[in-house]
Amino acid sequence: MSTEVLVFDILAVVAVIAALGVILARNPVHSAVALIVTFINLAAIFVMLHAEFLAAVQLLVYTGAVTVLIVFVIFLVKVDDLPEFYGGNPVQRIFALLIGLALLGEVAAAILTRSAIGASDIWTAEAIADAGGNAEVIGQVLYSEYVLAIQITAVLLLVGTVAALVLARPASATLPDRVKRTGLISLAHPRGADREVAAALPAGLEASRRGETSGVRFDDRGVILVDNAEAFTDQTAWGGDRLEGDD
């Protein structure tokens, strides 16, 4: 067994164990940590495969961005408050296990009996080194053969960003909602509330705001005042929470 195989085996086994951890952990944060471990191991494997650029991208994009986002979302949606939903229904799980094993068997059979190996391309390790390194070569390929695809991918990312903004926007923007939202932001906002919104409040609504229900009210300058500490501390800084009795 060569050193290479040994290193690979270690990385692969850790990656697979961490992957199992992703789907088995009860706590989503633990899943995310396991996912990070998988990703880092895969990045190392990519380096072994002479794909240094991809390894770096894997580290940057998956580990540095995607998983951070996932962790963020886990915090934001407050998983702890949810009922236990570690597993699905038992029948489904048994079925899934069987299907998974069957697929694994099939794919393993296909891999192990694989005989057709395509013609070798020109990018041997030496050729890549001559051309200036992995990043240079992949850049050449991307910006010659796949230049259109690159452009489309860029557009896709832009669209994805806009889509995320739209999706993450609060669902409705009726006046009470706007007031609520503005109110919540304004508490953390030294410049005070959005005066226009405050001015647009119907008298009755403002009165109800002054009442006991929310504990939040507006003074005549449009600044939001908080009656008690509950109203202040019961919300998160990222605006994900609601006020008490505000349903």
């Binding site: 380096v47 963020f72 915090f75 998160t236």
Partner: protein, 355 residues
């Protein structure tokens, strides 16, 4: 690339990492002394000459402290999180070229521990992994302030990481490489600046990128004036509120290592690294790094902390557009210089191309 046996790489990595640890230890001493001087105090000066043994005393003290784990903490993650920060920070130093290859006993040894073609990307990638130490630590503490600190920190680091990465792209374009060794070698050529020979340091060709890199670097390391995650007045210590003893020291030291690493990177990427006017060598790199370290301390001593919305607004509304502008400008100039395009032709095509 230098062809050397694996074990030499291991040894040099070991050496570099240990030097980093020592440097980091004395960074604490340096900062305390400098701060004291700036604030017209004396600073630690009792332990050893000039207080030089102070870091060791601190280390002993911290190791001896009780390792407190909060009751509702997510225990495993609570234990691991500081290590992530502590481990990832010095790794970056392994990519930095500390000098030209030297030959010892017939064996050529590279003074850059690893010289891979995409080193710069790895630097950014690894530093982004370091973020997890903060996020997970804050989460695992089961403390509202810690979580808030962690979230703030994560948002801040991610935002500034984009600026950090993109500000470097101009350098990559100019040097045509992602390898730090190549980037340094590129800067060691002379540049003819209106008849005056100056070194081809990228600080001259990429001044905007340098400024952006420094700002983002300060934010990336959670140093003042961007130290929101640990804003004592607001969050009672931020993500490490619940940490104590040597686990706390891991965070603390990780931060100092990050400062050193960012200084090293800035010196390497923008100030020519080991390049110097008399004899190239690691001493120049250390000198430049030291200047940056002083700069970090200086910042801490003089600037007040940013407000959080200002901090994020700065990253997304000011710095990011600036980096993109810098990128556009650099790309354009390079194309122009290489003769791949020319402004007149471009404008002509734009206006009259349809004919």
């Amino acid at each position: 690339m230098v062809d050397q046996p694996f074990w030499i790489t291991v040894i040099s990595a070991f050496v570099v990492l240990n030097v980093m640890l020592i440097g980091m230890a004395y960074m604490t001493w340096f900062e305390r002394r400098m701060l004291a001087q700036m604030q017209d105090r004396v600073g630690p000066n009792r332990t050893g000459p000039f207080g030089l043994l102070q870091p060791i005393a601190d280390g002993v003290k911290l190791l001896g402290k009780e390792d407190i784990i909060p009751e509702h903490a997510d225990k495993r993650i609570f234990l691991i999180a500081p290590l992530i920060t502590f481990v990832t920070a010095p790794l970056i130093a392994l990519f930095i070229p500390f000098g030209d290859p030297v030959t010892i006993a017939g064996q050529e040894i590279s003074l850059a521990v690893t010289d891979i073609s995409v080193a710069a990307l790895f630097v950014i990638g690894i530093s982004s992994v370091g973020t997890y130490g903060i996020i997970l630590g804050g989460y695992a503490s089961a403390n509202r302030y810690s979580l808030l600190g962690a979230l703030r920190s994560a948002a801040q680091v991610i935002s500034y990481e984009i600026v950090l990465g993109l500000s470097l792209v101009g350098v990559f374009i100019l040097s045509g490489s992602l390898s730090l060794v190549t980037i340094v070698n590129e800067q060691r050529q002379a540049l003819d600046f209106f008849g005056v020979e100056i070194p081809n340091w990228f600080i001259f060709s990429q001044p905007l990128a340098f400024v952006l890199f420094m700002i983002a670097g300060v934010a990336e390391t959670n140093r003042p004036p961007f130290d929101l995650p640990e804003a004592e007045t607001e969050l009672t210590g931020g993500f490490h509120t619940e940490y104590s003893g040597f686990r706390w020291s891991f965070y603390f030291l990780g931060e100092f290592i990050a400062v050193i690493v960012i200084s090293l990177l800035a010196a390497t990427l923008f100030l020519g690294g080991i390049d110097g006017p008399i004899k190239d060598g690691v001493w120049w790199l250390l000198l430049k790094t030291f200047i940056f370290l002083f700069f970090f301390v200086w910042l801490r001593a003089t600037l007040p902390r940013f407000r959080y919305d200002q901090l994020m607004g700065l990253a997304w509304k000011v710095l990011l557009p600036l980096t993109l502008f810098n990128l556009l400008l650099t790309g354009f100039i390079v194309l122009e210089r290489n003769g791949d395009t020319n402004v007149l032709g471009f404008i002509r095509d734009l206006l009259f191309g349809w004919i």
